[in-house]
């Protein structure tokens, strides 16, 4: 058996002989699991929504406490100093220790999964992806554990440094407290901690969302793992007499911070991009919604407008007369016309209903006097057209008028416009007919087919 395999096996065996290691490695994660189970007892599938958090806690504990505690303890006892007396290479000894720690963490994760399944959680949707993601997360945190092991001179220092990493990740890093429950600043800050990406990636494989869209999580975890491993290797210490404060190479720590900052920076940038994209998308959707025809009349095109039958009764005739703009009304109708002009904008029926109904009702102000042959009949259409032009955009107005002309029987008509200042009650069918004519006459004037 070569040195790598021998040290790997001995490390695993020694772990299972150490009661404190078993307590921290297996019991604590299970306590978290039970706490989550009780806390979220009302969820339909127990723990399914929280396995990402639980597995992350388990990996974090094993990698950021278990690994450095074991390494620093052995360094303090002189075990690593003894290893250095042998011809074994540093990388093979460290790799063997790390491999053993990975297996220990994996066993802890499997135990958690087994207990979760026992209490009713459904089987993970993507077991192979879960295994692969678990390994990537373990790599990221083991790298971090190596750095802690090289920073800490003593086991108590490991505990202190481990808590400095563990607690922030737990509370504001999205590991134990759901991100949606955190204030915005904490959500931004969580992007700088690998714990958030670990939870997201693991949860995706358990819930069956797959890893689509999680490439950034895996990339950031891999980057953290590489940075930690490189810094851990460069800062490696064999001997407890080599204190961190007095040794060189501290610049390698910047690799770890740089990785975290880069990931966090990219995360913030991505979040902004996503937010902007969402804003743009929602704005475009709103515009599209606004642009999309909500009513039939909005589908009216220039072709429809051109297709109207413009062979209408003459303006100076009895049916649908329309006085030319330079024609002065007789004095006895001036007062009537003034009333109509004053009242039309506040006339209640002209304000009721949707736009097309309002236009149809306002056309009736001209159609009813025409139907009942009022002396003012030929002057009122101009007043109505002026009001319509002042109220609606020209294009919309043309569309609505065209639609009314094409659908003369739709909507409702007013057969009495006394309120506005012109007396008499007309036959509704006649009003519809006259309204049809006036609608086309208005279109003809608005489109230049006929002078006002």
């Amino acid at each position: 058996m070569n040195g790598f395999a021998a040290l790997f096996l001995v490390s695993c065996r020694l772990h299972f002989r150490n009661r404190m290691a078993l307590l921290y490695g297996y019991l604590f994660p299970l306590i978290f699991l039970v706490a989550f189970w009780v806390l979220y007892r009302h969820e339909s599938v127990p723990l399914l929504r929280h396995m990402g958090e639980l597995l992350t806690v388990s990996i974090l504990g094993g990698a950021c406490f278990g690994l450095p505690t074991s390494m620093v303890s052995e360094r303090e006892r002189g075990v690593w100093r003894r290893y250095r007396l042998t011809p074994a290479t540093t990388w093979s000894l460290v790799a063997s220790t790390v491999a053993a720690r990975y297996v220990i963490i994996l066993s802890s994760g499997l135990l958690q999964l087994a207990v979760a399944l026992a209490v009713g959680m459904t089987f993970p949707e993507e077991p192979l992806l879960l295994f692969a993601t678990f390994s990537v997360v373990a790599f990221a945190f083991i790298g971090l554990g190596l750095v802690i092991a090289m920073l800490a001179d003593t086991v108590p220092a490991v505990q202190a440094l481990g808590q400095c990493v563990f607690l922030p990740m737990l509370i504001i890093g999205g590991v134990a407290v759901n991100l949606s429950a955190l204030p915005e600043w904490a959500q931004i800050l969580s992007g700088f901690f690998p714990g958030r990406y670990a939870v997201e990636a693991l949860q995706a494989t358990v819930s069956g969302k797959g890893l689509e869209g999680l490439s950034f999580c895996l990339m950031s975890l891999t980057l953290s793992g590489i940075a930690g491993s490189v810094a851990g290797a460069k800062l490696f210490r064999w001997d407890a007499q080599q204190k961190f404060a007095t040794r060189g190479g501290k610049v390698w720590l910047t690799a770890v911070f740089a990785a975290w900052l880069a990931v966090g920076g990219i995360s913030v940038w991505r979040d902004q991009m996503v937010a902007e994209a969402k804003t743009l998308a929602s704005r475009a959707a709103a515009e599209a919604e606004a642009a999309a025809p909500r009513h039939e009349w909005e589908k009216i095109t220039a072709k429809d407008v051109a297709a109207l039958d413009y062979h209408l009764p003459p303006d100076e005739g009895v049916v649908a007369p329309f006085a030319p703009s330079d024609m002065a009304p007789d004095d006895y109708v001036v007062e009537q016309l003034t009333k109509v002009r004053e009242n039309i904008s506040t006339w209640a029926p002209g304000l009721a209903g949707d736009d097309v109904q309002r236009v149809r009702t306002l056309i009736c102000v001209a159609a009813v006097p025409d139907s009942v042959q009022q002396p003012c009949e030929m002057f009122i259409p101009a007043i109505v057209l002026d009001h319509l032009q002042a109220t609606f955009p020209k294009v919309k107005l043309i569309q609505m008028l065209t639609w009314i002309a094409k659908n003369p029987d739709a909507g409702t008509v007013v057969d009495d416009v006394t309120d506005i200042g012109v007396g008499g009650t007309a036959d509704p069918e006649l009003v519809r007919e006259r309204a049809y004519f006036y609608a086309i006459k208005f279109v003809a004037r608005l489109t230049g087919r006929r002078d006002n």
Binding site: A5, A6, R82, P87
Partner: protein, 310 residues
Amino acid sequence: MPSQVVVSHFSKRYGAFEAVRSLSFTIEKGEIFGLLGPNGAGKTTTIECLVGLRDPDAGELSVGGLDVRQHPREAKQKIGVALQNPALPDKITAREALKLFGSLYPTRVAPEILLERFSLTEKADLPFDSLSGGQRQRLSLALAFVNNPELVVLDEPTTALDPQSRGEIHAEIARMKADGHTVLLSTHYLEEAERLCDRIAIIARGTIVALGTPAELIARAGVKQSCTVLTTKPLPRGLLTKATGVEGLELEGNTARFQTADPPGTLAGLAALLASERIELVDLHLRKASLEEVFLSLTHTAAPREGLSS
């Protein structure tokens, strides 16, 4: 035949402190070579650089013809080390430890052979933290042999052991020599060095102040012999100081202690004095200088440098 170990003009500093200054010695094959010196003299630094735990600043260090700086892995294959502190995980067994450390070398000795040789067979499967101090030290010696080394380096192997365990370790070291191994022994115990070592280097302030066989060192130092005289009644100080060669006289009741560089002359004068004063002689001890006295005489000016590892 080339020397098994060559240390030539070796120097090592820790910051401003010069732990070892241009140290040179050789160790021949099959020899037990002792390194003696007070705390902070540079013994452990010398050993640590030789076995690859630290990098020397200057000088040549070679084992079996291999420069330990240029060929560290090959040199380590030729060296077996028993550190002062046995340094093993609490729960590892002796068998596991021997198997593990053996696996780190290309050539290895079977754990069972080492367990038997170092009388650990019965304790082979007990965790390290349940072994006694002597058993731990025997395991440490066994670990030094997992690669069947040409050079065995023992760093204060009997420190803090009871006399019985110390005797067992002495027997093992003697057996190493009998088996043809070269041994570099660092120790605080002068009696141990005098008894076991073929040659001794006394180090003080990072440099060798004496080198040779124990007998040569004692003879070279020219230290006076000690004399203890027990009589039936107190000897008169005034008369005794007039005796030939008496120096450093101490009187305590009927016992007188002093040193002399001329034992025959002093003893003749003492006999004449006893006869003239009619005092009966009860007991008399004349003892040649010990290595301890040589050591103290050579190193008394080299006060320990506290707070610094040697």
